[in-house]
């Protein structure tokens, strides 16, 4: 088994909120010890980190792998390589595949595929309702037994509140976690942009940012009514924040996430109808982006995720309204997030609280920490190394990144999963 000492590292510990030089000892796939003083002697394998950052590996809630159905867009093998290259050590997959993951049989299929092909940990979410149609609840009990870590219909917001309230009540009885997409479904129907000057000038169908708050308000009322544990996949507008804050203050068991794109891009980036910037919900105004960064710093928003959504060229080379939404982000998540660090908006421990610690805690996983006994899921990265992103060098099968040609800072040097190196030079 592994016995490896990492020396001269800059240890980023979100749990202790510390960023300090030190060493870390991995044995048998778990973290045996770490410290700031003299490193222990007599360990055969030693890796000198040369002052680079060592942090708990990223736990990414909401990755789409396109098996079953659209393996040409992304397979477990390609997603696994992309995750390893991006410092993501646990992928939490979404059930919004062509054939939704809504039965124990389909969940077993993807679990088997992930086990066989992916080099990082993979846990799966399952659909809350059959076919994500919002009509009948899925077999939540069986799916839990089959290993589902959370339940979500993703961006298919349930219009029928009665169905949703029953599904949440049932999920509550099994203590299942649900992930909700806060959006008023009728108001946002057909919208591909956030309403405002930009969308109006471009002539794009748009929805008010208020639709997110309306969806959030309904869902929070249902959470209060049913007592279910819930996570909001993406909160992206300033107007939604007071409602989220009230819900947390009132003691509801809620957490919230945001995609890296909503933290680092705004609606103006769409420019002349660039479809790689079409995501769901649509990119917001700069004021909203700033408010989200602040909410993340305060801990009101708990989690940063990639919302990795592979799309092939054919689905994107269309007029903006017709083009598919979503962007790949497993590999760009960390360098993009480091923009917030370089802009001095967040510290590295704050970033990794949102990238690793908080998502792991929410899902009841032991990862996301540097404490002794925690799994040795780690990312070693150079926070300053500059590069220009070339989308054709991404490991994902799909190359739909909004960061193509962008100058970025921060490269993953090595990724460890359960003590084994899955990315980087030996």
């Amino acid at each position: 088994m592994t016995d490896l000492l990492l020396t001269h590292a800059r240890l980023i510990d979100p749990e202790a909120d510390s960023d300090a030089p030190g060493w870390l000892h991995i044995r048998d796939g778990v973290i045996a010890a770490s410290g700031n003083g003299a490193a222990p002697q007599g360990i055969e394998q030693v890796l000198d980190c040369r002052g680079k950052c060592l942090a708990p590996g990223i736990v990414d809630i909401g990755v789409k792998v396109c098996e079953p159905g659209e393996r040409h867009k992304e397979s477990y093998a390609s997603a696994g390589r992309a995750a390893a290259a991006g410092g993501v050590t646990t992928m939490i997959t979404r059930p919004d595949t062509t054939q939704a993951i809504d039965s124990p049989e389909s969940l077993e299929f993807v679990a088997r595929r992930a086990q066989a092909d992916a080099s990082v940990h993979v846990r799966h979410m399952a659909a809350l309702t059959k076919g994500r149609q919002g009509r009948e609840m899925a077999e939540i009990g069986f799916l839990l037994d089959a290993g589902a870590v959370a339940f979500s219909d993703c961006d298919a917001v349930t219009r029928n509140t009665k169905v949703l309230s029953r599904a949440l009540t049932y999920a509550r009885s099994l203590d299942a976690l649900v992930m909700l997409h806060p959006q008023e479904p009728v108001l946002s129907d057909g919208a591909v942009a956030t309403s405002g000057k930009f969308a109006s000038l471009r002539g794009l169908p748009a929805v008010s940012a208020m639709a997110e708050r309306m969806g959030l308000d309904r869902d929070i009322a249902l959470i209060e009514m049913t007592g279910v544990r819930a996570h909001f996949d993406q909160i992206t507008t300033a107007r939604a924040l007071p409602a989220l804050q009230r819900a947390k203050r009132n003691g509801l068991d809620v957490t919230a996430g945001i995609s890296i794109h909503h933290l680092t891009l705004n609606e103006m980036d769409v420019a002349d109808y660039r479809t790689f910037f079409k995501v769901k919900p649509p990119l917001r105004a700069e004021d909203d982006r700033q408010a989200m960064i602040e909410a993340l710093r305060d801990g009101l928003i708990d989690v940063i995720c990639s919302m990795h959504t592979p799309q092939d060229e054919e689905s994107k080379r269309l007029p903006f309204e017709e083009a598919a939404a979503g962007a790949v982000a497993l590999e760009t998540l960390l360098p993009a997030a480091l923009r917030l660090y370089h802009a001095e908006a967040l510290t590295l421990p704050q970033l990794f609280r949102a990238l690793s610690l908080a998502p792991a805690r929410r899902l009841g996983l032991a990862a996301g920490r540097l404490a002794a006994g925690a799994p040795a899921d780690l990312v070693l990265f150079d926070a300053h190394a500059p590069f220009v992103l070339d989308r054709f060098k991404l490991h994902s099968k799909s190359k739909n990144t909004p960061f193509d040609g962008a100058r970025m800072q921060g490269r993953v040097l090595a990724t460890f999963v359960a003590g084994a190196r899955v990315y980087g030079e030996p």
């Binding site: 405002g196 000057k197 969308a199 109006s200 471009r202 002539g203 794009l204 269309l318 903006f320």
Partner: protein
Amino acid sequence: MTFTQRHLLGIEPLHPSEITTLLDLADDYVRLNRGKRHGDALAGRSQINMFFENSTRTQASFELAGQRLGADVMNMAMQASSIKKGETLIDTALTLNAMHPDLLVVRHPHSGAVDLLAQKVNCAVLNAGDGRHEHPTQALLDALTIRRAKGRLHRLNIAICGDIAHSRVARSNILLLGKMENRVRLVGPPTLLPAGIADFGVEVHDDMREGLRDVDVVMMLRLQKERMDGGFIPSEREYYHRYGLDAEKLSHAKPDAIVMHPGPMNRGVEIDGEIADDINRSVIQEQVEMGVAVRMAAMDLLVRNRTATTTTEGIMA
């Protein structure tokens, strides 16, 4: 020459001097057309009209403009063609590109679709209306009409009235009239005004009489049939009562104010029939005439630019 565009995709990229150049040339073509003569600026050139959305007037105007300058004009009714067979817009564009046209005139129901197409072909592309985005030749023909009627195209008060939210004509006109330093007012019910309108650098009125006070030009917009019932306005008759242009409402404008409409008109909905036909006020027929001249000028200038720059770029540039 101060017209440097490769395509005419919208008013947004145009410089005021380019607009003036185009309108000056269009004035020449008005004289040519009235003299019943033909030009030869596009002789030996081929022009393809691709309309993914129904159009009678704009398509006919482009067709005539091409023919008056000697171009070979082909019309493709895209509604009935390969689009129905699942071909993507880009494949259609590449197919047409392989036929080496000089000019491609495109109308499409989706905003930005013409920009996308222009990236994939190596001929000049003219936007004949894309979604709710832009309709540049309409704004240019409106500008020419105003300039000829008022003797200038600056420091005028111009009201654009009606369904602004869904109108590409309104967007192109707001941009053009703004660039030429006019004061633009938008008049319409709040449900038909786009979001973020306050940031457009225009005045906004929901009371039509106030909106028309002392304006030099009244531009009416067509209200689409499908928007008349319940969704955006309560009814046709309430709309006509509050926002239809009649003699009484027009009396709030300057005595010599002109009335414009891009057509086709809904008489008795957005405009009173008598106003539309009043030769002392309405310039609606002139607009149609200017349309042909402006399109001749636009195609002429684009082809000149293509000839000036040797076209060596690849299809997928």
